[in-house]
């Protein structure tokens, strides 16, 4: 049987793969949702409570930044995942399956995403923040209208990177009971030496990652008005070359 025939007859591909593909998407989706839900405010907090932030909070910032975020980030994901099994069971009632795996996936990527959010926001010039404050903005208005809006291209890039990381983590999670493409690759590819399934899974994962990256780059470029070349891509400014008025 040649490779292509087997591609459509191998039960690992025809029966198991669609289901596990959905499980992977589910894990990345759920974990991605919670990562943004918690990681975005956390990233904003890391910036605003910092020494040069909108509202410096020395001790709280220390605890959140140095203790919680850095410790979570320094534990290798494989170990973090195993150690979080009891928490997953407590929250979801089970320790296996994509939903249970999403708990440890979220906790693994929230601090990562929060750091990326923090650094994107840090790139927003302090002059813009001063301008917003001088015109009488509340702190919340500075965050929503200036920090998040000006950092949006960077935030989308951060989300793209985080989702790609989640795809990788989800494969790892699959091996310890999360399901998804990672488990399929492990079961068929490693334990049964089934190269066809292995190749198919690699191709699919590469495709998922490419798709996320393409979509992310497209979206980031669409909202980026920072230089003239891309500024018009969102909404075109209709002006003829000759009609320069003023200076």
């Amino acid at each position: 049987m040649n490779f292509f025939d087997e591609l459509f007859t191998n039960p690992g591909i025809t029966e198991a793969l669609p289901e596990e593909f959905l499980a992977t998407i589910q894990m990345v989706g759920i974990a991605g949702f919670f990562t943004v839900l918690i990681g975005l405010p956390l990233g904003v907090f890391l910036h605003t409570s910092g020494p040069d932030g909108l509202r410096p909070m020395r001790i709280t910032h220390r605890i959140v930044s140095d203790v919680i975020v850095n410790i979570t980030r320094s534990i290798p994901f494989a170990i973090l995942m195993v150690s979080l099994i009891p928490l997953a069971r407590f929250l979801t009632g089970t320790s296996i399956g994509p939903v249970a795996a999403s708990v440890s996936l979220s906790i693994g990527t929230i601090p990562f995403f929060a750091r990326l959010v923090e650094s994107s926001i840090r790139d927003v010039g302090s002059g813009k923040i001063d301008a917003a404050l001088v015109m009488g903005s509340t702190r919340f208005q500075v965050i929503s209208k200036v920090l998040l809006r000006e950092a949006l291209p960077g935030l989308i890039a951060a989300l793209t990177t985080t989702l790609v990381t989640l795809v990788g983590y989800s494969a790892m999670a699959g091996i310890i009971g999360g399901g998804g493409l990672g488990r399929l690759a492990y079961n068929y590819g490693l334990q049964r030496f089934d190269t066809t399934v292995m190749v198919a899974i690699i191709v699919i994962i590469v495709a998922i990652v490419q798709l996320i990256q393409l979509a992310g780059d497209w979206a980031a470029q669409r909202v980026d008005h920072r230089n003239a070349a891309t500024a018009g891509s969102g909404r075109r400014h209709k002006s003829k070359p000759g009609d320069v008025v003023g200076v």
Binding site: V134, M135, G136, R226, A228, A231, G232, V245
Partner: protein, 326 residues
């Protein structure tokens, strides 16, 4: 009308206490432009931050039309800030917003109705000469156009005072002139009270009615432009009409003359030669038009026989200020 009284700001840097503002007082009437000039490190930035309440002054007060700005509680600080419109050196526009959306920003903060916002934004863009540029993003505008948007934004909330922090320091000379003309014109038409903080004497020469010289956190010289320019030994007058450095090459007497206002146009020097039969050699000179009047600063060398005391008396009676150079 903005009145600043004995404004002080000190802050700690490790063990040392640094005095950034050491009792600054000034007063600017409505409809006029006051320049605050100083070198970097003189306290200009601290003054700006205290006036906009981005930093709280250690002591002293800022009053706008008799109402206190500095003593407000935190909750009112945002309302107080809205009474000052600010123009920044680098415009500080939001890149994610179009020119019109940037101008609308201060209005959105107080929930102005949409229809009113768009009408007012269109009017403001017309006012600063950017009709039709509302949909352009800042990256599509030149430096001068960005600054015009910045000015429109500063005026959007109809502030009492316009504070310009180095408004032209990032612009080329031609654009600088245009922006200064715009600020000057807006001050007259809208009856604004304008404070311009700058290190460029040219800005003061061109648009200011009065000026303060800031040095080491203190106002060391201040007054209407015409008065400070007419002070022979003042540092502002020297900066307004700079002469090249003087190095004595002969033993001949050298005078520094300041011709202010009408005397500047009179035939003083030729009168001098005719009357005393003296040789007058002009070593250096600088002539300026300030606030519609002519000012001149001259350094002249006389011949050895010239009767110095009588000449000085003659010049002073003609309204010229005289100083014998050492």
């Amino acid at each position: 009308m903005i009145t600043v009284t004995d404004l002080r700001k000190t802050y700690r840097q490790g063990e040392r206490t640094i005095t950034a503002l050491d009792g600054v007082s000034l007063s600017v009437p409505k409809g006029s432009i006051h320049g605050i000039i100083g070198h970097s490190g003189a306290g200009k930035s601290t003054l700006v931050r205290c006036l906009t309440l981005l930093d709280r002054p250690t002591s002293g007060s800022v009053m706008i039309d008799g109402r206190e700005l500095t003593s407000v509680r935190d909750a009112e600080i945002r309302l107080a800030r809205r009474r000052i419109g600010m123009v920044f050196q680098h415009a500080n526009l939001l890149d994610s917003r179009t020119a019109a959306q940037n101008v609308a920003h201060p209005l959105e903060l107080v929930k102005t109705p949409k229809a009113e916002i768009s009408a007012r934004v269109a009017r403001l863009l017309d006012l600063v000469g950017l009709t039709g540029f509302g949909d352009a993003y800042p990256s599509q505008l030149s430096g001068g156009q960005k600054q015009r948007v910045g000015i429109a934004r500063a005026l959007a909330a109809e502030p009492d005072v316009l504070l310009c922090d180095e408004p032209t320091s990032a612009l080329d000379p031609a654009t600088t002139e245009d922006i200064l003309d715009l600020i000057h014109e807006l001050t007259r038409t809208l009856q604004l009270t304008v404070l311009v903080i700058t290190h460029e004497m040219n800005v003061v020469k061109r648009i200011c009615d009065s000026v303060s010289l800031l040095e080491n956190g203190k106002v060391v010289e201040h007054g209407p432009l015409i008065e400070v320019a007419a002070t022979l030994d003042g540092s502002l007058a020297r900066a307004l009409m700079p002469l090249p450095g003087f190095k004595r090459t002969s033993a001949l007497p050298v005078l520094e003359l300041l011709l202010a206002g009408n005397s500047a146009s009179g035939p003083v020097l030729s009168g001098l030669t005719r009357r005393f039969n003296a040789e007058v050699n002009v070593l250096a000179g600088s002539v300026e038009h300030l606030a519609g009047r002519q000012f001149g600063r001259l350094r002249v060398e006389l011949d050895a026989e010239a009767p110095l005391a009588e000449i000085t008396e003659f010049l002073e009676s003609a309204g010229v200020q005289v100083e014998v150079a050492a």
